[in-house]
Amino acid sequence: MAIPSIKITNGRIIDPSQNLDTQADLLLAEGKVEQIGRVGQADETIDARGLIVCPGLIDMHVHFREPGGEEAETIASGSAAAVAGGFTSVACMPNTSPPLDTEADIDFVYRQALRADQCNVYPIGAATKGRAGAELAEMGQMVRAGAVAFSDDGACIAKSGVMLKAMQYVTMFDRCIIQHCEDPELAGEGVMNGGATAIRLGLPGISPIGEELIVQRDIVLARTAECRYHVAHVSTARAVALLRRAKAEGPMVTSEVCPHHLLLTEEACAAYDANFKVNPPLRTKADVEACLQGVVDGTIDCLVSDHAPHGAEAKELEFLAAPFGMIGLESSLGLFARALIEPGLIDWPTLIAAMTIKPAQVLRLKKGSLHPGSDADVTLIAPNRSWRIDVTRFASKSRNCPFNGTEVPAKAVMTIVGGRIKHRDPDGVKL
């Protein structure tokens, strides 16, 4: 079936990959970006007056619970949540059940994504077999099946010898290793940040130095292996400082941050609401400020959600027992706008770069750009649309979102994937 051509008019086109920030029209035809500027006729015209038109947003850190945890989220429901949040591409982590550690597992994700027909879903393969941190996984074969990066996320690759081998191995395929930086021995049975609040609340703490030490060690290992290394969901000031120094020494180390680590502190756990239980945990005000500063000065490259769905039965437990994680695909853009745009810390081009071209580069995807000939993945953002996060309207199967009820200042109102409109905001595609 032919894809109808689309003309998007009167929008502010922001494409950091081309250093573009301009009022212009955009023509999409046959699933590709045809032209920017003054464009001809099209089958459908969308008036983007007052809206930002940018390359489709990319979330390089999500968890879809398929296979094994389909009651919380499937690839279909997860990718529906993604397009509702303005994302045209996501990279999903391998901590499924069984984990994504073979060629067949990677292929399965692509097939499910194809069936779902929502956004692009790129599987991240496990770095070690079973994510057990001992033996290398069949990364070569997973690359052949289309794995875009490797990680044991959820778990940390804790043994230095194994991490070094994994890093050396992955250099053969021009893929990066993404590390969940948490020394397991220092994390212990912790359920929130290991600081004053945990002591007061009587909850076991996850030591913040567990993140710092792994980041420090891994930077040395990555330098030795000459491997591209990406720190997942950075959360501590110390880690940000290490990343700043590493980036000054070379381009091989990148990182990402989640909205909750820019907006919430450990104090939010005081009500023992498990929706605030997340790993890495909510940290201190100083950590939040350091992470914000990291985004501002480019130390932190990418903005991600770490979308971690859990069904009600799973999450409706006392804080100590509940699983870690919060969903985020449908709220992260608004939350990032609240944390970074609203206080004037960064501008829209910077934010969009961190959600388009930067993750595309880390994952070596030919995405994140509107240069003519690119895939027609486009997001329309209403930059001044105030709205209230309401989990009952979410496409995700899960509801574990601590930001339910929060007002945020911007919203993705249309998501176009491969030239097809996959999401239109129910309240209208307008300012």
Binding site: A134, A137, G140, G161, T171, M172
Partner: protein, 316 residues
């Protein structure tokens, strides 16, 4: 044209190829050519080492190298003693030095030693008088394997100078790769070492090799490929995920062979893991020199024993 002065072999030991000069290497190969002819006679013996005793002092399992040395010594009319660590007093805790000196005390002339510790043969030369031949010391060198590889290449290609040779496998732990590299570089070949990044130390560049993790990229450009056996223990450790992945990335399949030069020489030190580092039909195919390597091994070892004995006799 004046007659060239005949080369005189002076070494009493063969511990490795690293220190051998180009002239020495060529002399061994030339000598081996002569001994190869012996194996075609109906009486496959020459009296060169008659009355001499050669002992195979093997502290590691081996069938082909050990048999090859035994047969080589026997064809030179030497008496052969077999020593195996497993069934000896080494299992009672006797040290290498004591073992060697005890055997020496019985009166031997040449000691062929294979040992898991790199440098063991070197150490032996300081403990005992007889000539020492390194039949493989840990991950260090396997000089007679290197020599038979050089011999085979020279025989099949007519030369070594300027040839492009690829060695594929677990380079980090391979004594064959090291001996081959030393010998090939000395004789003017270009060597590319290929293997998984976890088994390909960058330091090999300083030893004159190019490195690559991409067999498909290199295979079309080389004249000779030497496929090394990958140990199963290595494959399932943390350096490599699986046999299947190894063979997909680094195995010499018929498909890869088709993309190589039509006269690519295929070599393997043996024993081969069919279907892992080399496809069955490639190992048995027309371009394979694997069995020829074994025959050449015999001639090369005869040459080595002969030359070392000659040097020892002169010294006496």
């Amino acid at each position: 044209m004046s007659k060239e002065k005949a080369f005189v072999w002076r070494r009493r030991h063969l511990l490795g190829l690293e220190d051998l000069s180009r002239a020495e290497l060529e002399h061994i190969l030339d000598t081996a050519t002569g001994f190869k002819e012996v194996s075609t006679r109906s009486i496959k013996k020459v009296p060169a080492l008659r009355g001499k005793v050669v002992v195979n002092l093997f502290f590691e399992d081996s069938t082909r190298t050990r048999t090859s040395f035994a047969l080589a010594a026997s064809r030179l009319s030497a008496d052969v003693l077999e020593f195996s660590a497993r069934t000896s007093s080494v299992s009672k805790g006797e040290t290498l030095r004591d073992t060697a000196r005890n055997i020496e005390a019985m009166g031997v002339d040449l000691v062929v030693v294979r040992h898991p510790a790199a440098g063991a043969p070197h150490y032996l030369t300081r403990c005992i008088e007889p000539s020492v031949v390194n039949a493989g010391d840990g991950q260090h060198e396997h000089p007679t394997q290197g020599l038979l590889d050089l011999f085979t290449i020279r025989e099949m290609k007519g030369r070594i100078e300027g040839l492009k040779v690829a060695i594929v496998g677990d380079i980090a732990h391979s004594r064959v790769a090291r001996s081959d590299l030393f010998g090939l570089r000395k004789l003017g070949a270009e060597v590319t070492l290929i293997g998984p990044a976890t088994l390909l130390p960058k330091a090999f560049r300083e030893m004159g090799a190019s490195l690559s993790c991409d067999l498909d990229d290199v295979i079309g450009r080389v004249d000779v490929v030497n496929m090394l056996r990958v140990q199963n223990e290595r494959i399932t450790s943390s350096v490599f995920p699986s046999v299947q992945e190894y063979s997909r990335l680094f195995g010499l399949t018929r498909e890869r062979l088709a993309r190589a030069k039509p006269d690519l020489l295929v070599m393997h030190p043996g024993p081969i893991n069919r279907g892992v580092e080399i496809a069955s039909d490639v190992a048995d195919g027309a371009q394979s020199a694997i069995l020829r390597q074994v025959s050449n091994g015999l001639a090369v070892r005869m040459a080595v024993l002969f030359l070392l004995n000659q040097a020892s006799s002169k010294a006496a």
